[in-house]
């Protein structure tokens, strides 16, 4: 026998968000209004600093059908590459008080398209001894049929040099799989980066255990 370790609590088990996740997290999409303030897919105000962009995509299932009831949340740094959070101590980079860096949306019930209006993030310091991370946006997706939320990242295809040095992309052994995280730029009314996410199959998106 050895001494027992002190008790630690165990994490609460995940369960699927189900088909009606909108009721709790995006009530107007479920079909009603209830809260005085609601969270949305628009992360910018007129005061926010940085280049306005849209990010857009669809999530596909293993039969190549768009997932029409998916919840997508994003988390990102500001244009200077700093997170609006006390654990970010990159003192040389300013906090943008008019940018929280978080948003949520549901895919369209018909087309499966999700979108965010945001700004292009700056590069964030990597772990000590590592290169800075290339500009990226963290995505978290939940839906009916997804038992535990899936974490992935959106990188920008037009940041080739930074992407080539990114310490996270370089952890993905198969180079062809890195491309599943690259959003391509399209010049529309607002510059739009398009990233489709594939849950399953030959082009399966890389998901992370963070």
């Amino acid at each position: 026998m050895v001494q027992p370790l002190p008790d630690r609590l165990r994490e609460t088990a995940s369960q699927t968000a189900g088909p009606y996740v909108h009721i709790g997290l995006i009530p107007h999409q479920a079909g009603f209004d209830i809260f005085e303030t609601t969270f949305s897919n628009v992360l910018v105000t007129p005061a926010t600093r940085g280049e306005r962009i849209r990010i857009e995509g669809r999530v596909f299932d293993g039969a190549d059908e768009p997932v029409r009831d998916v919840l997508v949340e994003i988390w990102q740094a500001n244009a200077a590459g700093r997170y609006n959070h006390p654990a970010d101590r990159q003192q040389a980079k300013p906090i943008d008080e008019s940018f929280r860096g978080w948003g949520r949306t549901g895919s369209d019930f018909e087309t499966g398209i999700w979108q965010f209006e945001t700004i292009k993030p700056g590069p964030v310091d990597g772990r000590k001894g590592h290169r800075p991370m290339a500009p990226h946006i963290s995505l978290w997706i939940a839906a009916r049929g997804i038992n535990i939320g899936l974490q992935t990242r959106l990188y920008f295809a037009d940041e080739a040099d930074a992407n080539a040095a990114d310490p996270v992309l370089n952890l993905i052994e198969q180079r062809s799989r890195r491309e599943t995280l690259l959003a391509r730029r399209e010049e529309r009314d607002v510059p739009t980066y398009v990233l489709d996410i594939r849950l399953q199959g030959p082009q399966e998106t890389v998901f992370f255990d963070v």
Partner: protein, 252 residues
């Protein structure tokens, strides 16, 4: 990479890391008896990442963003009266695996009404909508990690999985924590419900004790006599690593 991929654990800007998630406590992506998971589960292995700033940070919410009735589902959609059903208080602590309360974090919840009907454009179950019940709410935990809300106990409802599948009564929960890597959605079940151990979502959890921790016990001590019963639901988020080297020897 031209730079060596050294593993030095702490930068000045990164002073906390999360303990690895124990995926044996969670349902795996593929649980075939929950049929929708078959085509919505990744087949390839997850890529494991050590925490970076992108994972240890996360959105911060303030009290000013919540309305005064946001945690009162009995009144927050009342039109010409109160909703029909069992009046209950649901309350508990949000802590991390180290046992520390998670303060000022956003907890959101949604549910069906007493008859098992959701107020959602895609729910066509024949049980009626309750005109005085919306079915969602939210709260920020206090400085100790405590939250509470008032609601109506939801009813079970049928769903198209097996021909005769019924979900146990449940309330969906969404919790943030202090970093985006703690993000969690789960479901709370009610003590004594015979549907729980027939449910493929509950049975998808490989660890029986972890599944049992989703069942909220009746909490008579917190009930309000002649008014409402109470259920207790504590939530545990991932903990942070605490090593001597990081916090003591290197100093800050």
């Amino acid at each position: 990479m031209s730079e060596p991929d050294r593993d030095v654990s702490q930068g000045e800007a990164l002073d906390r890391e999360f303990l690895q998630r124990d995926r044996g406590l969670h349902p795996p992506p593929l649980t075939p008896d929950y049929k929708t998971s078959v085509l919505r589960s990744p087949h390839r292995a997850l890529i494991s990442l050590q925490s970076s700033l992108s994972e240890v940070t996360g959105p911060v919410f303030g009290h000013g963003e919540l309305g005064p009735l946001d945690n009162d589902l009995i009144r927050n959609y009342a039109r010409d009266g109160e909703p029909i059903g069992e009046r209950i208080l649901v309350h508990g602590l949000v802590r991390d695996e180290n046992g520390r309360g998670v303060p000022h974090t956003l907890v959101e919840f949604w549910q069906a009404n007493a008859g098992g009907r959701y107020r959602h454009r895609n729910d066509r179950y024949l049980a009626p909508i309750d005109p005085n019940f919306g079915g969602c709410g939210r709260a920020l935990t206090d400085a100790q990690g405590y939250y509470y809300f008032r609601t109506i106990k939801p009813g079970p409802y049928p769903w198209r999985n097996f021909l005769n599948s019924w979900r146990p009564a449940h309330i969906h929960f969404s919790v943030f924590g202090s970093g985006f890597a703690q993000r969690l959605i789960t479901q709370m079940y009610f003590e004594g419900d015979p549907l729980i151990w027939r449910d493929p979502m509950v049975l998808g959890i490989p660890d029986r004790a972890a599944a049992e921790r989703l069942i909220a016990p009746l909490d008579l001590a917190a009930a309000l006599p002649l008014d409402m019963l109470a259920y207790r639901f504590d939530i545990v988020l991932r903990g942070r690593q605490q090593t001597l080297f990081e916090n003591k020897l290197q100093g800050n």
